[in-house]
Symmetry: C2
Subunit: 330 residues, 2 copies
């Protein structure tokens, strides 16, 4: 910047003014400065700038996902990027792998780089460690799962309601014995979905058979094995509900292997690519990951724009998409 000022024959401060678009610069000097910037291929150093600025904004946010490579996370990521980029804000992304320690260390890395805000899909359950950070002015929004011991903006989907809708759909098709495959119960969304299953059965006065429930399953293979086992209880279930997309795929694999995919109904939570091309196509309770990301990012930027109102808790609804597998009759 010093060199630019020298070449343009102006002071450092004038260059700074031109770069920041401050009005009090004559057209003459401004164009001289711009020419010098061009000629020297000068690049503004935002790190230094944000260090000195009074608002201290770095124009970067941190995004903590379960895994940047999973489709739900990356759809969220994409929408957040869209909202952020429109404002010239860049996104640091990191994967927690459902590991509380990794969550903390990633967030520490984010904050040590002085991000303006954090969007968090939490893996842990106690977020009091973020209190200081918040007091220091970092905006934050929790997405998909709630924060623990921290009063903070949150955007969720209606996990319990969505599951109840899926279960009610199966019951309406005549099913009475519905198996359930669930993810780690420590994940709040998984617990809510399981609650939805239990509550809907109860509401419809159906007895819940504990032999038809398998929880704490992680990944396609575990789900496939568990589904296989469920299908061999007697009497067997006539329908399965899978509480997450990988579990749905695992369940479908098991059904295919036993050649039961046209005889046992299947409804899954979370939509996934190609669900419509399987045989039968899979009925799902679809979350709109993009909408979730958009809502979270917009809430974050509202805070960054100075909104100091009490914490907002938004809940997006989910949609049952019937495609065939959920309409198989007992």
């Amino acid at each position: 910047m010093r060199e630019v000022a020298a070449l343009a024959g102006v002071s450092l401060k004038t260059v700074s003014r031109v770069i920041n678009g401050e009005p009090a610069v004559s057209a003459e000097l401004a164009s001289r400065v711009r020419a010098a910037i061009e000629r020297l291929d000068y690049r503004h150093n935002r790190a230094a700038s944000s260090l000195r600025r009074s608002d201290g904004k770095s124009a970067a946010i941190g995004l903590l996902l379960e895994d940047v490579a999973n489709p739900f996370s990356s759809a969220l990521h994409r929408e957040i990027e869209n909202v952020a980029l429109r404002r010239g804000v860049l996104v640091f992304a990191g994967s927690s792998d459902e590991d509380a320690a990794r969550e903390r260390s990633l967030i520490a890395e984010f904050t040590s780089r002085r991000v303006d805000g954090l969007i968090i899909v939490p893996a842990s359950h106690d977020h009091s460690y973020l209190l200081n950070e918040r007091r220091a002015g970092t905006a934050m929004v929790f997405v998909d799962r709630p924060a623990g011991f921290l009063d903070v903006d949150t955007v969720l989907t209606d996990n319990e309601g969505g599951t109840r809708e899926g279960i009610a759909h199966l019951i309406a098709q005549g099913h009475r014995r519905i198996g359930y495959l669930g993810d780690l119960q420590t994940i709040a969304t998984a617990a809510w979905r399981y609650r939805g299953y239990m509550n809907e059965l109860a509401a419809q006065r159906l007895e819940a058979d504990p032999r038809l429930v398998r929880l704490n399953l992680r990944g396609i293979e575990k789900a496939e094995i568990a589904a296989g086992e469920l299908l061999s209880t007697s009497p067997p279930p006539t329908a399965l509900f899978a509480g997450q997309n990988l579990l749905t795929i695992g369940a479908y694999r098991a059904l295919r292997k036993l050649n039961l995919h046209k005889r046992i109904a299947l409804v899954g939570f979370d939509d996934f690519l190609l669900a419509d091309l399987l045989e039968p196509a899979i009925t799902v309770v679809a979350q709109d990951a993009g909408a979730l990301g958009r809502a979270a990012a917009e809430q974050l930027f509202r805070r960054l724009d100075g909104d100091r109102s009490p914490s907002v808790h938004e809940v997006l609804s989910n949609r049952l998409i019937t495609r065939g597998s959920g309409e198989v009759r007992p």
Copy 2:
């Protein structure tokens, strides 16, 4: 930091020494400093630190992908994150959407934040604009596609060879009329794949029928329409090769709609989730996105560690995975 120094009763510089693990600090002072850091919940400011440090390292890199939400990109992303995080380096991710202007502006945002390095899946074809950046010391690696007008480290997969293997496989099954669906020819990988198709046909002395080729297709729907049209030429192809995963899905959709999925062979470039559960399961030429990411990140860090040797061009091979759709006989 000043407050920490005051509380511990030492100078600023001593606190800095403790934080950076410099040896010349007595155990006594070091522990007093650490206690003060704890008590004041002090957080090191890396932005200021990297501004002052002689090496100027920000411990952040920029990653330009086609779209953070597409499975290939996000698998790449994940492996890069793994390598980077092991060294305490954070990743800014951005999506170019195949738009050259967006590529440039994202890279400008990255560099204005003084990232230490860039990993780029390029959308544009002229990267001479990066010359200054490189001269300024930013490390960079191109992945999946080559750079234009810039001599730089690159990690690719063998697109032409992979395609030839796929086509050879179809020919070996007895196919003589093989349709081809290709992505935008401006994308280098798409052009290479098409070349692989043409060259393999030529090598096996088969005539290429231009009516069986559809290029510049973007997305599932365009591919589905194009595949439908190809299948109605006369005489029709007995096999299709799709040059990209979305095109493969589109082609499969078309085959299903015409109920030809068990009579016309299909091989696709790029593996995708659930390819093995379709009916028939899809034979593909699989790229290992994770390996690509790992190789790129490792090369980048080699440069950041001071490697000044001439540009490296690495080419990873692809693997034909036979699952059924490619083994349908004419």
